[in-house]
Symmetry: C2
Subunit: 434 residues, 2 copies
Amino acid sequence: MQFASESDHRQWLSAQSALPRGFRVGTTRLSFTPVEVSKPSAMTLTLIVPERPTAAFAALFTRNAFPGAPVLIGRRRLAEPRLGAVVVNNKVSNVCAPGGVEASEALCAAVAAQLGLQPSEVLPSSTGVIGWRLPVEAMLGALPAAVESLQGRSILPAATGIMTTDLYPKIRRVDLGGGAVVGIAKGAGMIEPNLATMLVYILTDLTIGREALRRLLPVAVGDTFNAITIDSDQSTSDTVVALSSGQVDGVAEDAFAEALHQVCRGLAEDVVRNGEGVHHVMRVAVTGAPDIAVARGVGKSVANSPLFQCAVCGNDPNIGRLVCAVGKYLGNAGLGLDLGRCRMSIGGMAVFEGGAFRIDSDTERRLSEYFRQAELYQSAAPDGRGVFKPTISWPPHERAVEIAIDLGVGAAAFTVIGGDRSHEYISENADYRS
Amino acid sequence: MQFASESDHRQWLSAQSALPRGFRVGTTRLSFTPVEVSKPSAMTLTLIVPERPTAAFAALFTRNAFPGAPVLIGRRRLAEPRLGAVVVNNKVSNVCAPGGVEASEALCAAVAAQLGLQPSEVLPSSTGVIGWRLPVEAMLGALPAAVESLQGRSILPAATGIMTTDLYPKIRRVDLGGGAVVGIAKGAGMIEPNLATMLVYILTDLTIGREALRRLLPVAVGDTFNAITIDSDQSTSDTVVALSSGQVDGVAEDAFAEALHQVCRGLAEDVVRNGEGVHHVMRVAVTGAPDIAVARGVGKSVANSPLFQCAVCGNDPNIGRLVCAVGKYLGNAGLGLDLGRCRMSIGGMAVFEGGAFRIDSDTERRLSEYFRQAELYQSAAPDGRGVFKPTISWPPHERAVEIAIDLGVGAAAFTVIGGDRSHEYISENADYRS
């Protein structure tokens, strides 16, 4: 897909955004002043509400050892018979804040009271600054407006409401058997999920049992959200939730699994494409590995190498750094593999074979041109304080730098999707909270 | 130590630079055009020569699975009875280049011929662009000038000759028992050594046996060079070499070990302080860990977190990212530690205790001021192409951001030294080879 402008992209999003039957979403904005930093801040509160509480829900969470309060509560909610609402806020992630669990539970209780639910039927999610306290009073005050805004037509307000440093909303849909699987994602930084990811909500009207959904979601996540990285920083709040309203019968489990996987794959790539400061998406396909852990490790080592990331950003095919990153992982793993048959290519052009580089000045030129073709945007001059801002608010295309690494020693394969490293990333994160 | 200017710092370096007895160094510059990129480039050739070939030498090398040709040759040299010279070049690292081993051996043979040695008595080292071929003809042509320049007074020309993106030369010395241990280091990027490091040459006139030197060097490297990281990219060329000319007798092995450790510690910190784009050094001291691997893993996770690095660069005490980086490692390690007694502080100020953050707007202000005090330099406005250049060519001070993490579950400890992440790093590495 290619998009010529923001309005082009938003038009496509609108076409994707019809809510599956049996769901409503609502959002509202509110202002508050954090206890920790005396500066006025703004937050969006988003509600996702099935018409009737559903037993068919599944969720996966981060493995970070300091998870947020909503993750702690979410894990408990998995044991509840039904889920009746999801309440999401951006700006403050409610991680390890004093009284954080109590704050989230108070919010759930208020949502339940307004929607006629039990507090335990409400799942909370929070994303944003780690360490700040949730401004519960301000959120409770804003809640009626969020309830008031609930509507069943479009998921777009929710996809927009959960954004933080994202440049644009992310929606993917698959229509199937008279129903649909529709997902939204938030995530642009602190992204290297492990068994879950950023914030993702997947809604379907297709009938699928609770157990089946809980079996299929981890499979779909395995090589989609768990295969991406922006900055190797696995968040404290990663959450993927899937809900079925069960209004459309008769879809086969295989077909549903495929649709679910497709939605997860699309969203995962969207998250990387919209990663903080990302100019190039890179797809690192590792094959010929002795097992999947090694294939994944090599792919992650390349995608997370700061030096290779910088080279890609500069359209500089510095393939020495590619080989260094592969060798770093393999050397530290101490596997003693025979790498004589290892082969690496970029955009189909062989760059390493038989233990040596295969480059000359012509290959260098063609590689550099290939990098340029895959670029999402070029940096604009920084402002007077040296701050770089992205020049786009939509994805102009979906091309990636395709890197293939065949280790030549086994049959296992894994593909990692990552981004490059730019001045825009530094500018975004050197003073993120201001 | 503090230095008010480049000349201040160079004066101090000169005072450190007297060569131990029995060594000479020489350098020369040469021009060449790489096969891979048709642009004129410059290289420095450096010779380090003991007066007589010595059996007392030791070396450690990278664990990267794609090591450079000089590393492959260096490993073989460890079995040789004596070492008579080290030849080092910058600009081209000679890693996986076609015919790379033959090129390095040809250089060793030429050095040997000019100095009256066996080729197997010459140890080669190369650093610089990975993938390019060594310009052997140009190097052989320049060799006589390097031999001509050999002198026994100062190690400073060698410390300068091995530099690549380093802003300043690095020398550390300890005087002991009428002799000295003097070391130099090159390294500013692609730095997270494993069992070795960048390029480091340690010379001593103190008598120490071959076996003792080979026993003591890995110990000295363990918590110095192996405890640092600039960008988590473990190089293909990491090498540490130690040589004794054996001209001063009577030093105790304990005292020698201590001096060796002190030189390694100083150089390791110098490498981080002069890391590419580093504005702040951070010292991450992890205590209370169940074992050293966990302590090291937590320290590395913090020092290598792109988001925490950016926050430190911006003088922004975003401690949520500190906790996230600790939790990322511990969660993935799957140790199930009880972290109720975990405690974190920055500059002695407690920020996390009893499972929750301890911050308010006053603490935030004091932390930010503390970060500012530890800053080595501030960014200057970028040039018209948005390129940032460091504003210093000397280390103004040796202060670091002191981060203490007490896991509260065991007795093991490890301290990692790292740097922050700045626009200067991106500018340096987006088009490093041009």
